[in-house]
């Protein structure tokens, strides 16, 4: 029978130990009494009462009576007792399942009065933070003054953490007693002194006696016999600074004080955080305003209802219309900027000609406009507007120059080709020797190449200014190839090249005849130019599909020198001849493949190439297939 009893006592003892551990976590002073004897006093109680006071507790007459009563009625009872000079309200609670055991909580009655004062202080601080027009640092100083006035502390100071130098700087300071005021050092690095340590560890610290603590660095005669409390100011894991207070070591800081200062610190950090956010927003706004005000380009913003929100000074200068005439009005009211009205889901780049209302000058504007997306809906538009008159002038001048230059070049070539063609035809009598004919042919074909070059130059200009226009029709590629091959016959025969064109059952495509003629001419001329004598050029077709659409892929394969790897990425660029004499060009200007690609992509196709395994290059281009008349289209 002894064994179960022993077990029960062990359990109770264990429970007591765990109860004691829980009580130690509390900031509220508390004790455990078993059978009228004090078995445990928690840390808060030990720091509040002296050893003598603690020993006198269980034998306190009032206490004994009430503990007995509480155990008897198994309910919580309250009694006020005097210990030393202080009055305490004791709350006595019997512990369930533990005989003769009660927990006693102590409330310092003098603290109640202080507690009311403290609440009033916190309230006044909230009002101060929320309403006054003081600067943040002035608010901190007023806080310090309030603390000194309302709380039993000698000195109080606030340090702010500066992110730039990572140091704490004293910004507010106050004292109740000039004799005990601690002054001097006003800056602490992280980890330096008590303030620096609190800032580094982000935990409050209480130093019961600074003169005997090595970590305290501001030792003076005045600091002798002082206790120090230092609490970090933190909000959202961000350190704003620390708040420190001193009082006499005899009345050192309790957990209650720590709690109070932590509350004050948290109020202060909220204030500082709000201040910081406000400053950041202000800075952001100033930056944005500076961009909008000083931008050389016009900036315009409209809201979801198409009303103008921003009309910057540059836009005033461009249009001659003042911001005050436009802000808040619908975009559609500004007639001259029609491209800026209407809905679009994507960015748009447009050009428009307007007359400046003040100067009357006609100018070209380039407009880049994009929607402001808010979830799935569009909350307005932002547009950047630039004066592109100069560029337009240059474009026009260039087009005119190319036009005039090509006209001037063409006139003599027309005469050269004209006479040579007549000579070859025998209009001036039969050419006698085969060498004479050979020379004439040479002159004739080279003059024709010059015609092609001028044509390339003109086409390239049209490509650049986006003025290529096509007449899409259903045409037979095989017949276009045949006509190009007959034009090239002289050159290919001269080099003894074999050109074969595989018969296609259906080589009908949707394309522009002139454009596709130019594409094939360029590709075949290239192949002829880069294939050594006795080489082979093969043209073949195959069907493919792009997004379900039937496409005809034409391959032009040569046995030429191939394309140098270093130049492969530049093949379709303008003037791709570069420094390599064997690089790509149709006739010499390096425009051939540039034009070819532009035409093919305008016609909805693609062009690419690969070097053959053995030798030479194959160029491919695809074009949308046209249905064979009278037959079902094969898909």
């Amino acid at each position: 029978m002894r064994t179960p009893l022993l077990k029960r006592e062990t359990t109770i003892a264990k429970n007591r130990t765990s109860t004691a551990a829980i009580l130690d976590q509390l900031t509220l002073p508390a004790a455990i009494l078993v059978g009228g004897l004090l078995t445990h006093a928690n840390r808060a109680l030990k720091s509040m009462l002296s050893k003598t006071q603690l020993d006198s507790l269980p034998v306190h007459q009032h206490m004994q009576q009430i503990v007995r009563q509480a155990l008897l009625v198994r309910d919580t009872l309250t009694v006020t007792i005097a210990l030393g000079t202080k009055n305490f309200r004791c709350i006595i609670t019997p512990v369930k399942d533990q005989e003769e055991t009660v927990i006693v909580f102590f409330e310092d009655k003098s603290l109640e009065a202080q507690s009311e004062k403290n609440n009033a202080l916190l309230y006044r601080l909230s009002l101060l933070f929320a309403t006054t027009k003081l600067s943040p640092n002035e608010k901190l100083q007023v806080t310090v003054d309030h603390i000194i006035f309302e709380l039993p502390v000698y000195n109080c100071s606030i340090f702010l953490f500066n992110k730039m130098d990572e140091k704490l700087h004293s910004v507010a300071w106050g004292t109740d007693n000039i004799e005990t005021s601690i002054s001097g050092k006003s800056t602490f690095a992280l980890g330096e002194g008590i303030a620096g340590m609190v800032a580094a560890e982000l935990k409050p610290m209480v130093i019961p006696d600074v003169s005997s603590d090595k970590r305290f660095v501001r030792k003076t005669t005045a600091s002798r016999g002082l206790a120090l409390l230092c609490v970090p100011m933190i909000s959202n894991n961000q350190l704003f600074g620390v708040i420190c207070a001193n009082r006499k070591k005899e009345t050192t800081f309790t957990d209650y004080d720590v709690q109070l200062f932590t509350t004050i610190a948290s109020r202060l950090s909220s204030l500082l955080e709000a201040e910081q956010t406000r400053a950041e927003i202000l800075e952001q706004r100033n930056k944005m305003e500076a961009i909008i005000e000083h931008s050389v380009d016009g900036i315009l913003m409209t809201d979801g209802a198409d009303r103008i929100q921003i009309w910057n000074p540059a836009l005033e200068r461009l249009t001659g219309i003042e911001a005050h005439e436009t802000i808040g009005r619908p975009m559609s009211a500004i007639d001259s900027l029609a491209p800026l009205t209407g809905k679009t889901k994507r960015e748009e780049v447009t050009e428009t000609k307007i007359q400046n209302r003040k100067t009357g000058k006609i100018i070209w504007l380039g407009i880049a406009r994009s929607p402001i997306r808010s979830g799935k809906s569009i909350a307005g538009y932002v547009a950047i507007i630039r004066n592109i008159s100069r560029r337009k002038e240059l474009e026009t001048a260039r087009n005119e120059f190319v036009s005039t230059a090509s006209h001037e070049l063409r006139s003599p070539i027309t005469a050269i080709v004209g006479y040579l063609s007549m000579l070859r035809r025998g209009d001036a009598g039969k050419i006698v020797s085969s060498q004479q004919l050979f020379f004439v042919d040479k002159a004739y074909y080279n003059a024709k190449r010059m015609v092609d070059l001028v044509e390339d130059l003109l086409t390239a200009t049209r490509v650049e200014s986006g003025q290529l226009r096509y007449q899409i029709e259903s045409l037979n590629l095989a017949s276009v190839i045949e006509s190009v091959l007959s034009d090239c016959r002289f050159r290919s025969t001269e080099k003894k090249l074999t050109i074969t064109s595989n018969q296609a059952n259906n080589a009908l495509v949707f394309a522009d005849r002139n454009g596709i003629h130019q594409v094939i001419t360029n590709l075949i001329n290239n192949a002829i130019q880069y294939t050594p004598a006795k080489g082979k050029i093969t043209i073949s077709f195959k069907q493919a599909s792009k997004e379900g659409r039937p496409m005809l892929v034409t391959a032009v394969r040569d046995t030429g020198v191939g394309i140098n790897t270093a130049h492969q990425h530049r093949v379709f660029e303008k003037f791709a001849r570069a420094d390599n004499p064997l690089s790509i060009s149709s006739g010499g200007a390096g425009l051939g493949l540039y034009i070819t690609r532009s035409i093919i992509s305008h016609l909805g196709g693609k062009i690419w190439f690969e070097n053959n395994k053995v030798r030479g290059t194959t160029f491919y281009f695809s074009l949308p297939m046209a249905p064979t008349p009278g037959r079902e289209r094969k898909v």
Partner: protein, 134 residues
């Protein structure tokens, strides 16, 4: 004999086309500018006119307008030809046809032989082709 009037300011080209058309049994009249062309067209009543666009003083389009405005020249077929072929060449072709040109071509892209063929097409009674070449 068929009569052709070439209105062209480039003497080299006048010479070229004059030679070619004479070989093709045309009676060839030439005019080095628009005013001369207009007066010769009225007086000589050619069967067909070859008209350049870019000329000093009066350009080809204005000449074409006048030709089509006068009763005595309005029925003569006019082949507008040019070596202009800039970015607005399509507009030039369209403008020529809208002003009553019978055909339009770019000189550099057509050998004299081809121009003769196009002119012959215009002189065939029933046909009035508007082939759109480069």
């Amino acid at each position: 004999m068929r009569k052709i009037l070439i209105i062209e300011d480039d003497l080299n080209l006048i010479e070229l086309y004059e030679t070619k058309f004479k070989m093709e049994d045309f009676s060839v009249l030439t005019a080095a500018d628009g005013a001369e062309g207009l007066s010769k067209a009225g007086k000589e009543q050619p069967d067909v006119i070859l008209l350049d666009i870019l000329m000093p003083n009066v350009n080809g389009f204005e000449v074409l307008k006048e030709l089509k405005a006068k009763p005595e020249t309005k029925n003569i077929p006019v082949l507008v030809y040019t070596n202009l072929g800039s970015s607005d060449s399509d507009e030039k072709r369209e403008l020529a046809f809208s002003l009553g040109a019978a055909d339009y071509l770019v000189k550099a892209l057509h050998e004299p032989e081809a121009i003769v063929e196009r002119v012959n097409l215009l002189l065939q009674p029933k046909k009035s082709p508007k082939s759109k070449s480069r």
